[in-house]
């Protein structure tokens, strides 16, 4: 009997063999959501159609139809992605109750591959944040410790997968919003090459940085989901026309690989320094030793301009966001304030009421960076830093096949800990931002629990643009080596939420 604790690949195999039906599997996940989401709060909306969708897949399978590999497997969808059958709010009050008139391309691809959308996951408002605390609908809680952040902005997707509420989820990554939540929840997350996955119907944060990608518990599951959502889309003018290889096939190949002999693994000196939590650094260096023992050649590479990446990012992102969020004008969709006055008075009052603090902060910052007299000093300079970072990556990839670093400088911090210090929150993305600025693909996978707090740490792998396949091949090998060493998967060590819920209830009764 396959359970919700199995990987998506194993759930798919059980569906294909008839050991379980999609209706049964979907019901198990809905039951799990019912049991634990009161504590985790990963979901903003649960689909009313999930069981109907699952039944339709079961009927097609029963009729002998040959179905795609993931057909019948449930999936959670980050609330930044447009869905015609569920509200889409991007975690903002300004879009409360809005149901889009079209599906994002990635959602349409999930549907045509027969996956079963379970619901929409929580996120920092318009994906601005690293903790989900900037969601207008309240934070998501980390399944490893309910008093801690699940990362952000895609904390809902990562927590849903970590808490076995869904085997698969979609995220979006502008500066680390897939990889950092992956790191702090002990799950796998991939930011594909910029343009590798369609952004059509993904509510834009910073258009030159945003990328949609998979959120899963295993490297193979990420590859399976990436194969479904990836590829050219004429509706996205930045979509790449590459012929992509199967990432699932690369993951399967990587999992079978005997050794890493001859692979050059570049350690980015600037992302392995002081300021990182001791347990994160310790697990990172143990992982490097494991790689070396299995044939990889560890080389140190330098990326001197990474020092300027966070600063450049917090100019480019607010600038692009201030422009992208101009569409929330109280005219075509979403909230409208009841104030009387001109259309601009209504617009200003609506945006005041509908945007949260972090969105206001970034929109005002972006407006400043783009204003006459400051444009060259801020936005112009930040775009030059972007060139320098790309040159750093080009130099590093001349010496290494993949680059690695910790995915996040610390384990999950406490809810509220950095909420009143925006700059401290921004520095949390120091490891993930360079890949977005250069458009290259990156993956985070679990590398163990930090000894000092028992919380998950993440290992980041980066590859040159268009070479996402290297992440899957290498990631699957490393995942296997680590799990052989541990004797189990990392996620299997997460606390039993149904027990913690009972404890919470018992404490509440006292």
């Amino acid at each position: 009997m396959t359970s919700i604790f199995a990987s998506a690949a194993d759930q798919a195999a059980a569906l294909a063999s008839g050991a379980v039906s999609s209706v049964e599997l979907t019901q198990q996940h809905l039951d799990r959501i019912e049991a634990v989401d009161g504590d985790v709060r990963a979901f903003l909306h649960i689909s009313a159609d999930a069981l109907t969708t699952a039944a339709a897949i079961d009927a097609r399978r029963a009729a002998g139809e040959s179905l795609p590999e993931l057909a019948g497997v449930p999936v959670a969808i980050k609330d930044i992605l447009c869905t015609t059958d569920m509200p889409t709010t991007a975690g903002s009050r300004i879009l409360e109750g809005w149901t889009p008139p079209y599906d994002a391309t990635v959602v349409a691809r999930l549907r045509s591959a027969g996956l079963v959308p379970l619901g929409k996951t929580n996120m920092d408002e318009f994906a601005m944040g690293s903790s989900t605390e900037h969601s207008a609908y309240g934070p998501t809680h980390n399944p490893w410790d309910l008093e801690r952040i699940p990362g952000g902005s895609g904390g809902g997707s990562a927590a849903a997968v970590a808490a076995y509420e869904a085997p698969l989820a979609l995220g979006s990554d502008t500066g680390g919003s897939i990889r950092q939540p992956g790191a702090v929840t002990g799950t796998v997350g991939v930011k594909p090459t910029y343009g590798g996955v369609s952004r059509y119907g993904a509510i834009a944060l910073a258009s030159s940085l945003d990328q949609v990608g998979p959120v899963t518990r295993t490297v193979l599951d990420a590859g399976l989901l990436h194969d479904v959502i990836g590829g050219y889309d004429k509706r996205d003018s930045t979509s790449l026309k590459d012929e992509w290889p199967s990432f699932a096939a690369a993951a399967r190949q990587g999992a079978q690989a005997e050794s890493l002999k001859g692979l050059r693994v570049g350690v980015v000196k600037e992302l392995d320094g002081p300021g990182f939590q001791a347990g994160v650094s310790q697990r990172f260096h143990e992982t490097l030793a494991l790689l070396e023992k299995n044939g990889a050649e560890i080389v140190e590479v330098s990326a001197p301009n990474f020092e300027y990446a966070v600063a450049a990012y917090y100019v480019i992102l607010p600038a692009e966001a201030s422009s992208n969020l101009a569409k929330f004008d109280s005219v075509r969709f979403g909230l409208r304030s009841k104030v009387t006055g001109t259309v601009e008075d209504v617009m200003s009052a609506t945006r005041e009421a509908g945007f949260g603090d972090e969105v206001k902060r970034r929109v005002i910052l972006g407006t400043y960076a783009l204003s006459a007299g400051y444009y060259d000093a801020y936005y112009g300079s930040a775009q030059k830093v972007r060139t320098l970072i790309q040159q750093d990556f080009a130099g590093a990839f001349a010496q290494a096949d993949v680059l690695v670093s910790p995915s996040a400088p610390t384990t999950a911090f406490k809810l509220g800990e950095k909420l009143n210090d925006p700059l401290a929150m921004y520095l949390n993305d120091v490891t993930t931002i360079p890949a977005n600025l250069a458009g290259i693909p990156g993956m985070s996978l679990p590398m163990g629990l930090a000894p000092e707090d028992g919380l998950p740490t993440g290992f980041q792998v980066m590859a040159p643009a268009h070479e996402d396949v290297r992440l899957y091949r290498f990631g699957a090998t490393l995942e296997r080596l680590l799990e052989e060493q541990w004797g189990h998967t990392l996620i299997s060590q997460a606390p039993d939420l149904s027990t913690s819920e009972m404890l919470t209830a018992a404490e509440g009764a006292l």
Partner: protein
């Protein structure tokens, strides 16, 4: 130090069409000052000889033939509007009295 004053924040808020409260303007003045000071370091390495990059991957503009594609119906386009008359979005006065 940056030149972020309450007047600057109020002006930016007006440009961004967000009716900030005086308390928000005061709080943002301090926060933005710190953030702007921190991001200003981008100009340290952005020397004249460095070329700016707007997109991570080299792209060319995409054109297509000017033929009707799959588009939303009027009803779909209006479905999420706060106010409409069945064929158009409805808004309050475009111009104020002084204009």
């Amino acid at each position: 130090m940056s030149e972020i004053t309450p007047d600057v924040v109020a002006h930016l808020a007006n440009l961004a069409r967000i009716a900030l409260t005086p308390q928000e303007i005061e709080k943002l003045t301090g926060e933005l000052g710190a953030i702007v000071d921190s991001v200003a370091k981008v100009s340290e390495v952005a020397t004249p000889d460095v070329v700016a990059t707007s997109h991570p991957i080299r792209l060319v503009n995409v054109f297509r033939d000017d033929v009707p594609g799959e588009t939303l119906t009027t009803a779909q386009a209006l479905a999420g509007a706060p106010e409409h008359d069945g064929s158009r979005f409805q808004v309050s006065a475009i111009l104020g009295e002084e204009q």
